[in-house]
Amino acid sequence: MAGLELKSLHKSYGEVEVIKGVDLSVTHGEFVVFVGPSGCGKSTLLRMIAGLEDISGGELWIADKLCNAVEPRDRGIAMVFQNYALYPHMTVYDNVGFGLKLAGTPKDVRDRKIRDAAKILQMEHLLDRKPSQLSGGQRQRVAIGRAIVRQPEVFLFDEPLSNLDAALRVETRMEIAKLHHDLGATMIYVTHDQVEAMTLADKIVVLNAGVVQQVGAPIELYQRPANLFVAGFIGSPRMNFIEVTVKAVGADMITVAGTDLAAITIPADGTGIKPGDTVTLGIRPHDLESRAGTISGQVVLVERLGNETNISLALPSGESWLVVLDGDHDLKPGQRLDLTFDPARAIIFGSDGVARHPRT
């Protein structure tokens, strides 16, 4: 079926290398999300799969066919663009049917396919309109209709929701998830929004500076990030980091302490780490509890949301942390706050930035 195989894919513009060897394997029907900060090459990678960018090196296999030099129309893909890219001079009907018309599909078959696609997306009443007469959400729907009418092996989405307002974004996100479920097609989705990534993906690919940082299921990325970058990128608000010194190394245990932190023993892989080394400790803002214990600091800013309280905290070393406490807490700036956390929720990162998860 229509799997996808990327073998050490490279892309460079002259001297500048933007994609530095990406290896990825996607099985049929999987929903894969490329996520990363701006300029990390995620859109470029998608456009290489689409055939809009040349591949400088490596191999691209779509459905067991080497596609490096295959024209986009013969790759069995369809793409949805961020700004919809509807043809302004054509009606919705013609927009959706344009690809079929170019392929020389007979008129009656074409008409049936267009109406089927319109039915799936509930936009039959829009078929006679021009794109300028549609709202943003409707335009995106037409763009998706244009993709599904071609019955592609692989769907490509390039930040399809970023031009929509917040409410519509949630709605369309669910529709895309439903569409994936109904069609069972392979989908590749590019976004910088990690909520979209977490909710939609079977598999997330985190990219940074043209290099794959980690590939895995959303919850795996959240709980066991491979390195500092993934830990900081996945999860909102961002994970807190602090530099600490190793005091003792045991079997799957590391004891650390620092200027801001009382000695604490954390389950981690201690291979190659010896007492005296500097490592980074990461803890998510939600995992901190307001109890006297390991860490304390001064409240700088309080955001009371009712169900939770966001606190910006200044540690003695000057480091700034974010704490999210359940429920409402009436705290004043300048107040001292004592915190503790479950050692099992903390992650130790070696000096190379790689996470030291316990081996079990």
Binding site: L52, F81, N83, A85, H89, F98
Partner: protein
């Protein structure tokens, strides 16, 4: 008095417009009604009698219905040239705007050179004779296209920059070959500029006098502007017929203008603000 004080500048402007734009027109029409005797006075007087119809008959039938031949020639020349211009200029503008290569600078220089360097008549005639296109209508079409191409390209290129590149890409993904992308997606979107091009260039080519004079000699090849010489010579000029002729050949450009008038303004300002 207050009225005059407040609006004197507007009044002057209106008056100036009338003098500059309407008086010459009125002069042409009045002259077309006069007989030869009154017309040769060349004054701004009311016609003594209505000689319009006899003038028209005379103008049209002169030199074996030359004006009709001229109208046919001019129409073919204008339609063919403008069609080629629109297609080629839009194509050049499209490729130049979309595909960045190191030759772009050179190509842009050549386009500007086409605007700046005056056409050299004698070498062009020599070249046309060499390839057997001299005094042929299709040779003339090529010359008009060559002369007008740079300006049309400049008009198109600026507008193509406002068409998002994703449209091309969406079409490519939809399976469009390069010519499909151009003719089915890009060219229809260029309609406002195309209208501007059609009006500006067809009026210019239809009214072109010097180029057909140089490159298209022969009675069978006459274009409308050249028929003016039928009634104007060193020793005798029939001003009534000359101005009747002028009135007649002004009609087609006027029609083109009236027909496209509303859209031309849109084309002129299009691209200034993203719609």
């Amino acid at each position: 008095m207050i009225f005059l004080r407040r609006y004197w500048l507007s009044a002057v402007a209106v008056l100036a417009s009338v003098v500059v734009f309407l008086v010459p027109f009125a002069f042409i029409v009045l002259m077309a009604f006069k007989d030869q005797k009154q017309a040769s006075l060349l004054d701004f007087s009311w016609p003594a009698g209505n000689h319009l119809w006899s003038n028209i008959v005379e103008v049209v039938t002169t030199r074996n219905w030359m004006l009709l031949t001229a109208f046919i020639n001019s129409t073919i020349l204008t339609v063919a040239s403008v069609t080629l211009l629109v297609i080629f200029a839009a194509m050049v503008g499209f490729v130049l705007q979309r595909r960045k290569t190191r030759f772009n600078g050179l190509i842009e220089f050549l386009i500007l050179a086409g605007l700046m360097i005056p056409p050299a008549v004698v070498p062009t005639i020599w070249l046309l004779q060499g390839i057997g296109l001299f005094a042929k209508l299709h040779g003339m079409v090529l010359i008009e296209v060559a002369y007008a191409l740079p300006f049309s390209i400049l008009l198109y290129r600026a507008f193509i920059a406002t068409i998002p590149r994703e449209l091309d890409e969406a079409a490519i993904i939809d399976g469009a070959r390069p010519f499909d992308v151009f003719f089915r997606v890009i060219l229809p979107l260029l309609w406002p500029v195309t209208v501007t091009n059609i009006v500006v260039q067809s009026v210019a080519i239809f009214n072109d006098f010097t180029n057909p004079l140089y490159y298209l000699p022969g009675n069978a090849n006459a274009t409308v502007q050249l028929t003016l010489y039928n009634f104007q010579s060193q020793f005798q000029t029939s001003y009534n017929l000359l101005f009747t002729n002028i009135a007649l050949i002004t009609i087609p450009p006027l029609l083109v203008f009236l027909f496209f008038n509303r859209q031309i303004v849109a084309g002129m300002t299009a691209g200034a603000v993203k719609g």
